[in-house]
């Protein structure tokens, strides 16, 4: 890739690179970026680690160090443990959806003969990513509500599933949260897979065609192994996304009914800004950070750099 080349090429030329400028001037150029990163990124990250070991309640209230007590009480807290389970369920669904759907749709788009249509479909699904997530989730709240669109649809096809509201019934609430966004096509995944398919040598498909391999058979036996790097990347991205997200909880369920849709991210939000338990909230933040960090490291070690799926 051109970028990779740019990245690895410099040593040959760098001797020529000017140092005629005074050093202080060069440092002055990067100073704003470094200063902002130290104050607004590094300081919060590190103070978050510290906060998680204090009994801080709210800003301005004196607190003291309590060691790992927050972590201990988290992992004995049935609400938090339930939220971990919900997170795992939502992540499993999110990963399955986030990997399979974009692959299938990218294949559908890629296999269209017309370049114009291919571009048009990609633009259409991209357009969806501009719509504020808040608006989309709020309207989904109406779709899933008592006597909402889904209930009307079931009544119309004659299914006896009339319901007290999919997000209100504790048995269906978590599934309903997972269902928000159906059919989950729009997103970065479709671009990742599409770029992956563009990068495949077309001769492979010519050969497959000669061998009579078409459609789903070709997708499964030939295309899928070729985009395995993209599969891994979308797995990691979907996992990280679903570990952090709590839009539906924030806007629609507030973690309920009861705690049926509680997830750690939202529990952190509640602890920090509703319950006045900032120390506890920071402990949840640190825990999620460690989980995500582990995934990121797995990603860097075993998944090809995401730069490999660069721009089209």
């Amino acid at each position: 890739m051109a970028q990779e080349a740019a990245y690895s090429a410099p040593p040959a030329k760098s001797r020529k690179r000017s140092n005629r400028q005074p050093l202080w001037l060069i440092y002055l150029f990067i100073f704003p970026a470094i200063a902002l990163a130290l104050v607004f990124d590094y300081y919060p990250a590190i103070s978050g680690l510290y906060l998680s070991t204090t009994n801080t309640m709210e800003v301005g209230i004196p607190a003291h160090w309590i060691g790992l007590a927050n972590y201990v009480s988290l992992f004995t807290n049935p609400i938090f443990l339930a939220s971990l389970w919900h997170m795992a369920v939502l992540a499993a669904i999110g990963i399955a959806i986030g990997t399979v759907v974009p692959f299938l749709v990218a294949e559908m788009i890629f296999n269209l003969g017309s370049a114009r249509w291919r571009y048009a479909y990609r633009v259409i699904f991209l357009l969806k990513m501009l719509i504020p997530g808040m608006v989309v989730v709020e309207v989904w709240g109406i779709i899933l509500a008592t006597n909402g669109v889904l209930d009307h649809l079931f009544k119309w096809v004659g299914l006896p599933w009339s319901h007290i509201g999919w997000l209100v019934d504790p048995h269906t609430a978590l599934a309903a949260v997972a269902f928000i966004g159906f059919p989950w096509v729009a997103g970065i995944g479709i671009l990742i897979y599409y770029a992956g398919l563009v990068g495949v040598n077309p001769e492979i498909w010519d050969a497959a065609s000669v061998d009579g391999s078409r459609g789903f058979h070709r997708m499964r036996t030939i295309d899928l192994p070729l985009v395995m790097g993209q599969v891994k990347l979308t797995i990691i991205l979907s996992a990280i996304g679903s570990f952090q997200g709590y839009f539906a909880q924030f806007l629609l369920t507030q973690g309920g009914p009861g705690f049926a849709t509680m997830v750690p991210g939202y529990y952190m939000y509640l602890n920090a800004f509703q319950y006045g338990q900032m120390g506890m909230a920071s402990a949840i933040g640190v825990f999620l950070f460690l989980v995500i960090l582990a995934l990121t490291i797995v990603n860097m070690k075993f998944v090809r750099s995401s730069q490999d799926y660069a721009v089209e």
Partner: protein, 298 residues
């Protein structure tokens, strides 16, 4: 401004040349093709169904909504839009202000930083670069609570600064990563010539480097604008005074007020979604690239 690429061949994007296939892909028979089109159009319809629903409901009175909630009903009540706009115009202006300030800040610090890191050698260059890049591994969930504590100590709660500074500090990281790479890729000859003419570092930056990386700056800008315009949770924590609220927390409180008045509520949602769509019409190519570059992110 056309949505169609002029020529789908080697599309040169921001210094990255990518091969695009122009030839027909083998293996799709005509009747399968129509099946695929049908499938994609159904998926597109379902994907946009919430927006279609919002649009339909935005023209209704409550009576129309109770009688025919999900179909088009006449007469269309455009007055819903007037009512919604009367409330949310202020939030939109606030968002424009916050996004502009954050964008100017992010682009300033990251082009300066990317230029120094990409074009100059100096002690500590690698350390500083990796110090910035390491932040890509720090997720928002870790920093949200302590960042709020910090913002409180700086008395930035209920001010735009409480959004702008964290936005810049968060946005600069990936921007510097991209800009440094593109700055490194620039040809040395231009800079040599400028140095012979006695150009200052600022002149090199402003007259040579900056114009050369303009495409990638546009990509970065579009990406940030979308993220900040649609941001809900952080601004709703920082801004509780309606006077300063940006669009998403504004719409959130609007939702509370208009819960039982579906027409204006949906009209508000539609109005809030429009600005980015308009921006898209003007920047579709940059936008496609910008979203693609989002695939770099972790």
């Amino acid at each position: 401004m056309s949505l169609w690429p002029a020529k789908v061949a080697d599309v040169k994007t921001a210094g990255v040349t990518v091969r695009t296939t122009t030839r027909e892909v083998a293996g799709v028979r005509p009747h399968v093709k129509w099946l695929v089109h049908t499938g994609l159009l159904i998926l597109a319809f379902l994907e946009f169904y919430p927006m279609i629903l919002a649009l339909l409901m935005s023209f209704k009175t409550n009576t129309q909504y109770v009688l025919h909630p999900y179909s088009l009903t006449f007469p269309l009540h455009f007055s819903n839009y007037v009512e919604a706009f009367r409330v949310i115009w202020r939030y939109m202006l606030n968002s424009v202000a916050v996004v502009s300030m954050s964008l100017v800040g992010t682009l300033t610090v990251s082009t300066l930083g990317g230029f120094a890191l990409g074009r100059y050698r100096f002690p500590g260059r690698e350390v500083l670069y990796y110090m910035l890049i390491a932040l890509m591994m720090v997720p928002g969930v870790l920093t949200m609570v302590p960042q709020f504590v910090l913002i409180s100590h700086f008395h930035m709660v209920n001010t735009w600064w409480g959004l702008v500074f964290p936005y810049i500090a968060g946005g600069e990281i990936f921007s510097i990563f991209l800009l440094r790479q593109f700055m490194m890729g620039l040809s040395q000859e231009l800079f040599d010539a400028a140095q012979v003419d006695g150009a200052t570092m600022w002149q090199e930056f402003w007259n040579i480097a900056l114009p050369s990386v303009r495409p990638i700056i546009a990509v970065i800008a579009v990406n940030h604008i979308v993220g900040w315009w649609n941001d809900l949770i952080w601004p709703s924590i920082v801004l509780t005074n309606p006077k300063w609220m940006t669009l998403m927390p504004g719409l959130y409180s609007f939702t509370g007020q208009y819960e039982t008045n579906i027409g204006p509520l949906m009209a508000g949602y539609v109005i809030g979604s429009i600005p980015l769509v308009i921006m898209f019409l003007f920047t579709s190519r940059m936008f496609v690239e910008g979203m693609n570059s989002g695939a770099f992110k972790l």
